[in-house]
Every structure is written in structure tokens, then in C-alpha cells.
């Protein structure tokens, strides 16, 4: 222990030997790299990847057996399944992002570094989205299989993958809000899943409403996730309003998350 004691008076001059040079700080990138790396060291992330790939592979197997010679190869099947599964995947990927920082007190360290609160939130979000992107990219294997045995519609495949990517980003951003709200990961995950289901089921609610008030029904439908994916992007129809819907959902959710993180300052 004595070999490694702190250097005290006399052993060292008061100032540092290395000159402290600062470059352009890109704090969100640092946060992103750490969080993204953590997904590859987290058992939960591996479990999610395994469960998702296993589930999709089983369904795909059944689908391809059933469809053989009956209908054309469809590369939108796997990304479509993944978007449905985001209500389970996204909350599990985002639940600890901010709740753990609050609980462990490291939020105080982060919030006293020269980094804007939004950069911090953005880095965390991008890490989750990047991990999701990896999962989505893994499902490209089904596209390759279909390419080898049939002639899937490439336009539809492109739309479906682009849509699934944006869809995932939006769902991750929304579920991350709950991670900022509560210190409890489990609570964050449940509330996140519930929120995604509400957005997912807006379509069903709208068809239920359509008889009584068609105007309201259309409004509710447009708010939901399904209207902007299943009927359009998943079929290769790329409409700006669908892309904007997901982009605004991401930006809006990140804004809300940042604001909630900021309130920790006032409550502290």
C-alpha cells in the first residue's frame, strides 16, 4: 500500500506536467460510443437479440414453407415482424439509459461536465438506435435467402427496411422518455411497452371509432405508428409524411426527454 500512496507535498510540484489542450469536444459522440459498447457487454441486449432472431427465424421458416409456390417472395416480412416486436425490444433497450444515471448519481457528474443536456440524451438515444440498426441489419439475411430462391420486390424491401429503421428510432425515442421519468428500470420498461402498444393500437381504435365519428377516427389513425408503416412504407410506398411522422416523433420525444432530465437539476 505504501508504494502506491497518493503523491503528497514535496514529491511533486503543484501543477501538472502535461499541458491541458482542449480540442473540439463532441460530447454526444463520447456518450454514444460508451453506450453502444455497453450493449455488446450486456446480457439483456444479447438476450433480446437471441429471442428476436429466434422468433423471427421460426416464423420465417413457417412462412417460407407455407408460401412455397403459393405467393411471391416478400422481403418485407422480417422487418415487419421486427417493427411489431419493438414494443418488447425498445423498452428493454432504453429502460436503463437514464434511470440508472439518476439512481447511481452519475447524472450529477454528467450534468456538471461541459456538455449540454441534449447532447447527453442524444448520445444515449443514438446508441440504442444503432444497436437496433444492427438487429435490423441481421434480418437482411432473410432478404438474401429470398433473393436466392425467388425474386422479391426490391422497392418494397427498401421501403420496408427504411420504414422499420425509422419506426424503431421513433419507438426507442418514445420509450426512453420513461427512463428519464423514473429511477426504476422495470417501471420504465412497462410504461414504455404500454406507450408503444397505445401508439400501435391507434389503428384498431380508429376502426372502432370510424362508425361514430369518421373525422376523429382518421385523426387517431394518423397519430398511430401502424398508419405510417404497414400500409405505406412496408409496401414500398415512400411518402414524405410518413418519414416526417417518424422524424418528428424522434425529435419530439428527445426534446421531452431532455426537458425531464433538466428537471432533475431543479429537484436536486
Amino acid at each position: 500500500m505504501t508504494d502506491h500512496t497518493m503523491n503528497h507535498a514535496g514529491e511533486r510540484s503543484g501543477s501538472f506536467q502535461t499541458d491541458v489542450k482542449t480540442g473540439t469536444a463532441v460530447p454526444f459522440w463520447a456518450v454514444f460510443k460508451r453506450e453502444f459498447g455497453l450493449y455488446f457487454r450486456s446480457p439483456i441486449a444479447y438476450a433480446i437479440a437471441f429471442a428476436m432472431l429466434f422468433f423471427i427465424s421460426l416464423l420465417f421458416n413457417a412462412y417460407i414453407g407455407q408460401g412455397n409456390g403459393q405467393f411471391p417472395a416478400d422481403s418485407t416480412y422480417a422487418p415487419g415482424l421486427l417493427t411489431f416486436l419493438t414494443f418488447l425490444i425498445a423498452p428493454l433497450l432504453t429502460m436503463r439509459l437514464l434511470s440508472e444515471e439518476t439512481r447511481e448519481g452519475t447524472l450529477e457528474v454528467m450534468m456538471t461536465l461541459p456538455m449540454g443536456d441534449f447532447q447527453f440524451v442524444l448520445g444515449k438515444f443514438l446508441a440504442a438506435w444503432a444497436y437496433y440498426t444492427v438487429l435490423l441489419a441481421l434480418t437482411l439475411v432473410y432478404h438474401l435467402i429470398l433473393l436466392s430462391i425467388g425474386t422479391p420486390d426490391l422497392g418494397a424491401a427498401f421501403g420496408a427496411y427504411l420504414g422499420a429503421w425509422l419506426y424503431g428510432g421513433a419507438v426507442l425515442a418514445v420509450t426512453m422518455i420513461w427512463s428519464a421519468v423514473t429511477e426504476d428500470q422495470i417501471v420504465a420498461a412497462f410504461l414504455g411497452a404500454a406507450t408503444v402498444l397505445v401508439l400501435y393500437l391507434a389503428d384498431a381504435a380508429s376502426s372502432w371509432l370510424s362508425a361514430s365519428s369518421p373525422g376523429l377516427a382518421e385523426f387517431v389513425r394518423e397519430l398511430g405508428l401502424t398508419a405510417h408503416y404497414d400500409a405505406t412504407l412496408a409496401r414500398g410506398i415512400i411518402r414524405p409524411e410518413d418519414i416526417l411522422y417518424f422524424v418528428f416523433l424522434i425529435i419530439g420525444a428527445l426534446f421531452i426527454t431532455t426537458r425531464i432530465v433538466e428537471t432533475r437539476r431543479w429537484r436536486a
Binding site: 491541458v20 463520447a30 454528467m110
Partner: protein, 320 residues
């Protein structure tokens, strides 16, 4: 340099910090002394840009903490209470991460240097979760030192350390104080006396005294007050103590009697002892008042008849 002017933090109806003013100068260690819940942590959180003040002003390293928060944060090294760290990272990894967020170019060398400084080079690659409490404290300190900041704000850095580590840390803080502005909080008076050039005593969100340790001790022992504890009740003994030659006033406090001599230069203790013994009572305790923190607080916060310190007068003026 830290300049604090009438800084206030209010949560609803409760004041955590109530109009405090003080200055921490460069090349000095300023001790922030007070019991738990006095407002030390809240003040430090305002100075480091974590939480905004309700009112008042504070300048750290020449920048307003509220208006120029980023500039302040660039120039401050902060060790929060309880030393929050990412336990999944190695000590070196953690410092590199902080360095990257700060945008430090030579963060590898700086991390090395900071680790060496706190004596942790040999554990640089250990996961923080495997380090002892004292070592984690040092990782936290290293992260505060990483960018060689002008101002260091350390919130109770010696809590949870073993006695040897405490001594080492105090040495380190003293050494850092020569080239930096150091604000350091503690609830241990002897620590403040050993480490600090200047002490600010805070209680219930108010500054109750400030000055060098020597000045404070003088101020608090001012008047040569002594505490007398006997084997009879204070009520019973009070008239007798009041009659002792050389005792101006006496009152019941702190389970005994606090006696003030007529002449501050003359120690009333021999006379008190003689009288007490002559009455056939047993002397349990007889000593000058205010030699430890508890007594200073009792002194500073209980006696309504004491002279207010300049800081408090200022507060009263503001409130009036």
C-alpha cells in the same frame, strides 16, 4: 476564485441555502464546514452548475454560474458527495471517458498523470466495481483533477476513508490548494483546521462564521468562557457559580453551566474549582468552551445574546 453573493436556494417554502456570501481565493483551501443538512452540498451543486440558484449570484473562475454555466464547468473539477462513478468501467476508462466529453486532446497522458497523482496507477485497469471505497474516492478525485482545473470543488472527500487514506487525502488537498482554488466541505472541525487556510461555517443555510481557523478559534473562545459540569444539577449550582469572584455572568447550557469571566484575559477556572470544592461538590468537567464542532454549533446557534457575525448582519439587513 469563487465569489458568492447572497446566494439562495429554496425548495417550496424551505430554504436550503439562505443568502450566503463568501469568497474562496486562489492558492488557498477554503473549508466549508457544517453539520449534515446545513446546505453545503446544495451550495456546491449551485457552484458547479448542477442546480440553478433561486436568487443571488455566484462567480466561479470569473464566470457567472447561471449565465455562463459551460464556461464554469470547463474550469471546475467537481467531486460530488458519495462519489458517483460508472462501476462497469476501469479507472482509466472512466477518466478517458470524462476526458473525451471534456474534449481533452491528450487525455491518455492526462489520465495517466491523474491516476499517478492519486496513487492509483497500479489499479488503472481494474473495474471500478472491484475497487475499495477509498480507491473509488481516488478515482473520483482523479476525474476532478483530470483537466487541471482552476477551481476544485470537493464535497466531503474524506468520508468513508480509513485514517491513513484520510491523512493522504488531506495532504493532497493542501498541496492542490497551493496552485488552485479549492473549496472543500467537511463536518469535521479538526480536518478543516488542518487543511484549510480559510473556513466558512454554515448552519441551516446560513453562514454563522468565517475566517482563518486561528481567527475562528479566537472568536469562539472569545471572552474565555468556560463550561462547568458538577455532580449536582446546574440549577442548584448556578447561584454559587455566579458568586465566584471573576465570573461576570453564568447560564445553564449544554448540561452544565457556561461562565463568562469579567476579564477575558483571566482564566476563571482556578477560582471556580476552589469554590466548587469548598462547597463539597465534585467537579466533573471544567474546560474552555468551543473546542469542538458540536460545541461551536451549540454556541453559534443556541445563544441568542451573542453578537452576530458580519455575514449574518448582512443577511439581516437584506431581509429587513
Amino acid at each position: 476564485m469563487i465569489e458568492v453573493e447572497n446566494l439562495t436556494k429554496r425548495y417550496g417554502e424551505v430554504y436550503a441555502v439562505k443568502g450566503i456570501s463568501f469568497i474562496a481565493r486562489p492558492g488557498q483551501v477554503t473549508g466549508f464546514l457544517g453539520p449534515n443538512g446545513a446546505g453545503k452540498t446544495t451550495t456546491m451543486r449551485m457552484l458547479t452548475g448542477f442546480t440553478p440558484p433561486t436568487s443571488g449570484e455566484a462567480c466561479v473562475a470569473g464566470f457567472d454560474v447561471f449565465k455562463k454555466s459551460m464556461e464554469v464547468r470547463r474550469r471546475v473539477g467537481y467531486l460530488p458527495e458519495n462519489v458517483p462513478l460508472y462501476r462497469d468501467m476501469s479507472a482509466r476508462g472512466y477518466l478517458m471517458y470524462i476526458g473525451e466529453i471534456r474534449g481533452l486532446k491528450d487525455r491518455r497522458d492526462l489520465a495517466e498523470e491523474a491516476l499517478e497523482r492519486v496513487g492509483l496507477s497500479h489499479r488503472a485497469d481494474s473495474r471500478i466495481r472491484t475497487l475499495s471505497k477509498g480507491m473509488r474516492q481516488r478515482v473520483g478525485l482523479a476525474s476532478a483533477l483530470l483537466h487541471n482545473p482552476e477551481v476544485l470543488i470537493l464535497d466531503e472527500p474524506t468520508i468513508g476513508l480509513d485514517p491513513i487514506q484520510v491523512l493522504e487525502l488531506r495532504d493532497l488537498v493542501r498541496e492542490l490548494g497551493r496552485s488552485h482554488t479549492v473549496l472543500f466541505s467537511t463536518h469535521i472541525l479538526s480536518e478543516a483546521e488542518q487543511v484549510c487556510d480559510n473556513v466558512v461555517i454554515i448552519n441551516q443555510g446560513l453562514i454563522v462564521a468565517q475566517g482563518s481557523p486561528g481567527e475562528l478559534r479566537g472568536q469562539l473562545e472569545r471572552g474565555g468562557r468556560v463550561l462547568v459540569r458538577l455532580d449536582v444539577t446546574p440549577e442548584q449550582a448556578l447561584p454559587t457559580i455566579l458568586d465566584v469572584p471573576g465570573v461576570a455572568t453564568a447560564q445553564i447550557a449544554m448540561d452544565g453551566i457556561v461562565a463568562t469571566p469579567t476579564d477575558p484575559q483571566t482564566d476563571p477556572r482556578p477560582e471556580i474549582a476552589r469554590v466548587v470544592v469548598s462547597r463539597g461538590w465534585n467537579l466533573m468537567e471544567l474546560r474552555p468552551l468551543a473546542v469542538n464542532l458540536e460545541e461551536i454549533f451549540l454556541e453559534l446557534t443556541r445563544h441568542e445574546d451573542r453578537e452576530p457575525t458580519p455575514a449574518e448582519e448582512a443577511v439581516e439587513e437584506v431581509e429587513a
